[in-house]
Symmetry: D2
Subunit: 456 residues, 4 copies
């Protein structure tokens, strides 16, 4: 069965059928397609286009079809070019002519727009929930390793000592922004296009707001032409997934680095590692590398959709069918990655002694400058002076704390015996105690706020 | 003057200086850089790191520098590698040592993050306002040409008759979503990173919330490492600009098409057209083609930033300097395009007779099916029947309205003499009168709601 | 069976197994994987690492496995994480211990690099051949409709009359460049990485050139670290596919346009069109719209791979596994699209009378200017004069050929009675007779050269 | 002066002038624009459209204009909307009416296509030459540090010992492929579009081959419509630049990593490093980070052009003006990056003792397996056995070489006293002596071949 054969005389080309066939990937929309049809049937009944009996028959037929899909029993027919056709065809088999009334005033243009929106609403919620699980893991690791010190890098060069927990929590906030973006995207997704018809609107006076409410959508479209062609919500969802992917790639990069024996700050569980077919000693952080690699997949799906949309004329064009696979793939990928990464974070073993071993006195250079600032030296001058201190230590091949005060005084008279208290990494860390800083108290506060965000 | 020379012994490579030089493009941040420094100076004063006199001196010096930039009198020095260095260098010249205190506890890492955020806050507002101007133009054209009928296309094939004003308003809602996205992005942009230092936080107890409030920012960062590396807001702004570009590309495609003499539904003003260097008769819709072409530029800027971010390790890496030119270019491009397009829309001359001439009875095929539906035929069957009607007319080479009712009755007994009332385009349009439909009443309602959105 | 379990104590996480599993998509490499192993077995035998009997056993085992895959009988085992593991596992079942010798000095790193190269070599050839088929179709249509005149557009505005065949042939040359690019890409693809091992090279003195020759590869890698990480050839193949996609998108845009009834220059066969589920009259050029939409898919696959590669450290990283699905999808897509488009071109029905009806005298404006040039007027002045001629005709609301010579003489004294010979479209076309021009003779010449390129 | 004002009555919008203005960026094409005009003038003379005197006058005028640009004396006029207009306007001022003859049969459509091709031809050559310089630097460093051993990583985990020079040379071959790609791209760039006119070809019988030869172009276009719209060469050049950028990003990633004190295998010169405004001790590898960041810029330029091209109808559309800035920016960026990186490579200081210190016996695990292979154990079994050996050493907390042979024999009876010869890193390296391997002899051979490629 085709929904449109009436005016055609010839047959469709065999290859064209395959080319045009979207059932192979849009079948995953069956539940939302049926959900939309249930709501539309009610609306048709409300305006008298379906009798109570026809409505009951449709409802029950749709219910059966959903069951068939749920249990893997739905059998595709040769002519089912998409999920909408397949459902209508099967419905006709099950309940006869009444099935043919379901498409009254409805086009596949508004139908597929609805299906995609319902699908996205579901997947946005699922993604939010997976992000929360990952955020829980991050908090748990931060709490379990709250006070371990490690080098903080900028430009991948040692910068200042920080807490391991502070590093771990930095990712919490990235994912927190991702959650916020998803929730914003949801608002623009939960808008009902039903009643837009092919492009011009419905002549049957159906109650668009009521359908929307029934489907859990907060709003309806204000322009039928826009309704059938708007794919902003697909792009916006893909953008939020792209940002998640970018954040995952940061986390992956850090973990891959810190797993190298030159650092060995941590190790991910064997359960998430693999070995080598050639080299017997290998234990590779494959989970994180793969997750990092999949950034390309997600970002390029966003671009796929943007390219498809670029330069199209108004309303529905068949190009829009190309919004699906990119989205499905990125949703599946992200959901898998988020689950894996939560597992990886839980599996991390931390080696605080290795982190500690890489803290060096040079990383306290800013603290020496701050010391001078506290003694009245303008920061820029203090910075310059400490540069000289470092050069001095390098020339003498001694550590900073080994420089005698007298030698320091040749550089600045402000140095005093108490300068040596600076060479205490935890002291340096503890001083960064304003909101968002790396001091233990500040990190505890941070974790509290994080828990609040999750309603913990 | 360099801000970091102390520990170096050699000279920087000449080419490296050029490579590293960001002043040539980040100088446009001068006003926000100075705004940030003013706020930071207050904060330093509040914790006693600046005396009242030093604060006054800094304030006045910063004020002078802003004036110099405003009036084009600021002179760059050879060593000014970025806007931050340039301002601090000049400040030192103007007020001496106190200038060196401004960087206390502040790094260029948190400083540039702040500058970029303040810049984006300003440009988001500007973009919102330009969108509103364009939306006003769309409404004005829709109102001025409210009842003109034109063919509505799907797949660029004639589908159903619609109103010109309905077509024009369809773009209003795209830009309305863009405004909403910009406002959502703003929330995540107006977050203050000041006090994050290089990566670890501030040891000087400055009041981060107060600075944020002074800068019109609703929130502060909760993690200093995240604060210095987060560029989500740049990507998110670029994404919203990309969606605007995609919407402009749709509008451009339609207008370029409708300007072709085969349609000649409309013509954009000469003021936005150009001619040919070879062909004297040409009048090309260049403004729209260029606007469509610039979609590539904006989308690829988003992509640029996402690629830069992909796979970076934690905190600041120099790669992040590459967030600026892509953003600046896309902001400039979008602001220019929006201004131009508003002008183009205002300049449009409409040729309703040409639109009318392309309405054909075939575009009422759905109405014939709806007629059968109203006479009790299930839609799917009705659709099939109308397919046969069309085939019949094609074979006889007559128009649909010329088919005698007797002939129609061979196809379906439900056809009656009143079938001929269908062949009235305005009737077909007027029936699509539910919210968002193309009926004149519905479009009027739509315009009212649009005006409400703009606070008109 | 895992190829690397020896040093591990724990179990791999279940989800991780799925995440890591590439067999579901790399199984399509089975034939080339086995081809590579056959060649490698010979090389191992040549250096005495396999006895003649072991070689025979391996050969025969590999042959059986290929048969199993070919006939769909290969059964995956639970632990088969990729095609390489699956083949080795099955080989062990079939021939016992000797199977374990096949991996001597070989890593999956060089193995998969080889597989991907052999795969690309095959698919490049296939793509070249599909391009040729399409080029044949273009030539056939050009020849069948050689002398039909149509408007040529620039900026989608009428520019100059051209031949339909000239338009059609313009696509021939785009695809000709694509063929050339594919052949260039092939050179850099047919380079053997076997013998690179995991990254450091082979300690067993195998003859790398001989293996390469046996596999039809013209060259071998000069650096083992480069050999295992180079994915340039994947990106380059995807780039050539992207250019094909862009060319298809041009063709699609033209055909979709020219199928609109405002033009109706041509119509694609019903076999490649579809109808509407709502509007019974519709006949949409879906094949071309879908083909245009798929441009996004192919271009974004290229970017997927480039993003994956960006910023990776040396040699093999697991991220590289992400080169496959993007490539496979784009190869499949392009091969399908090329087949479809060849069919579409063959199916095109041309309406020369509609093209002719849209030729207007204004499109001869350049010819009038050329007339003045031939009478000694510098072109720039002639162009200006013809601008005035057009304005005059517009003001008087007459056609250009209706302007009396006397009136023309007010604009330029060079106009003479013979100016009216200009208003002959075929004359204008025939004058563009240098190589590459639209004159019938030039197009015939062009077709001859095209046939030569195809060896016709 | 505008080249097309004749038929227009109104004024162009002021903002539209800015929008349409390409002189601000296409002025860089002046030399190639004039070069093209010189060649075209000759061709016009050859067919009698220019007298000898006019030709001389044109030649001399063009020469003067080139001088004015070269010396920075060219003054832009208000109406110069692009480089072509500017040159023709100035030419008119200099030599009067004859200037107006230069555009005979030429459109800006074929003119700008030619300019862009000549520009690309020059820049391709320049890029090839910069690549060679960088390749020389790589060879020099490899030779200077030929025999230093370092850990080779896969998955960023220690894999096998390699030579530093082998690592360095791996980049040579990436850039060698880039050179080959550039030379292939050149073939498709050096094709002359002159004579295509606006789209239909030239009516004046000019000798297209001769012009091409005069301009150093090997071929001419075979279809005028294709000639004016083909931008494949821009995309192809940008693709080759993208691959260069990807290769640079690999090199940058390695160098940034190896500069971290946890590795400290090398250090780039101070001349290419920068410090921190806050942390006095910092010395950051900024050059490499920036170079890595700029990958985003180059790849996205390619993407920009592909998006612009997607979905355009035939021949010239104004969108094509958007091919320029993306290309110019990426050419400038790449040329700058290549120069910088060559300098960085030259400046590298190597710390062989740090590399050596990170070689561990586990990295010889494959060699132990190879030992068993040489004693007749199938590789897969050997691999498994060595896994057990490693586990044994880990449990006993001893190094591999400390395991007594008796203990090894519990795992495999094939182990003998001579097993200890394996624990010699240089021995392991030296065994990988087939072509492309890391053995000193193989690397020497590799360097020889590299020099041959460069004609050294």
């Amino acid at each position: 069965m085709k929904l449109w054969g009436g005016r055609f005389t010839g047959e469709q080309n065999e290859l064209m059928k395959q080319f045009n066939d979207s059932f192979k990937f849009d079948r995953r929309l069956y539940a939302v397609d049926i959900q939309g049809s249930q709501a539309y049937a009610s609306a048709l009944h409300a305006v008298g286009l379906l009798s109570a009996q026809e409505l009951a028959s449709l409802r029950s037929g749709l219910h059966i079809i959903k069951d068939e899909f749920d249990t893997g029993k739905f059998e595709r027919n040769f002519g089912d070019e998409d999920i909408h056709t397949a459902v209508e065809r099967r419905l006709t088999e099950l309940i006869g002519d009444a099935a043919g009334k379901l498409h009254t005033g409805r086009s596949r243009n508004d139908q597929v727009a609805l299906d995609m929106r319902l699908y996205c609403m579901n997947e946005i919620s699922k993604t939010v929930s997976l992000l929360e699980t990952l955020q829980h893991s991050l908090i748990a690791q931060a709490e379990a390793n709250l006070s371990f010190m490690m080098p903080g890098f900028t430009h991948l060069q040692p910068a200042q000592p920080i807490l391991f927990s502070h590093w771990m929590m930095s990712f919490f906030w990235m994912f927190e922004r991702d959650r916020a973006r998803l929730n914003d995207a949801l608002k623009r997704t939960a808008v009902s296009p039903l009643g837009a018809g092919a492009l011009a609107g419905s002549p049957f006076g159906i109650d668009r707001e009521k359908i929307a409410a029934e489907l859990g959508m907060a709003a309806i479209f204000m322009n039928s032409m826009d309704a059938v062609s708007d794919r902003d919500f697909v792009a916006e969802f893909l953008f939020t997934l792209s940002m998640i992917a970018v954040h995952i790639s940061h986390l992956a990069e850090d973990i891959v680095l810190f797993s190298n024996p030159a650092f060995k700050y941590l190790q991910i569980g064997e359960a998430f590692s693999t070995g080598s077919s050639l080299m017997p000693q290998k234990r590779n952080p494959d989970a994180m590398e793969l997750a990092r690699g999949k950034t390309g997949r997600v970002i390029s799906s966003l671009f796929n959709v943007l390219i498809v949309l670029k330069g199209l004329p108004s309303t529905y064009n068949k190009d829009l069918q190309e919004d699906k696979q990119a989205l499905f793939d990125s949703v599946d990928t992200t959901e898998m990655v988020l689950s894996i990464i939560a597992g990886v974070i839980n599996s991390i073993e931390v080696f605080p002694e290795n982190m500690l071993a890489q803290l060096t006195e040079e990383m306290l250079a800013t603290d020496i400058a701050d010391y001078l600032v506290e003694h009245g030296v303008p920061f820029r001058e203090a910075h310059q002076k400490v540069g000289e201190v470092i050069k001095f230590a390098e020339e003498k091949d001694i550590s900073l704390s080994e420089i005698p005060v007298s030698a320091l005084n040749h550089i600045s008279s402000k140095f005093d015996a108490d300068v040596h208290k600076i060479f205490d990494f935890m002291r340096a860390i503890s001083k960064k105690d304003s909101v968002g800083g790396t001091a233990p108290q500040a990190v505890k506060k941070q974790i509290e706020m994080a828990k609040e965000k999750l309603g913990m």
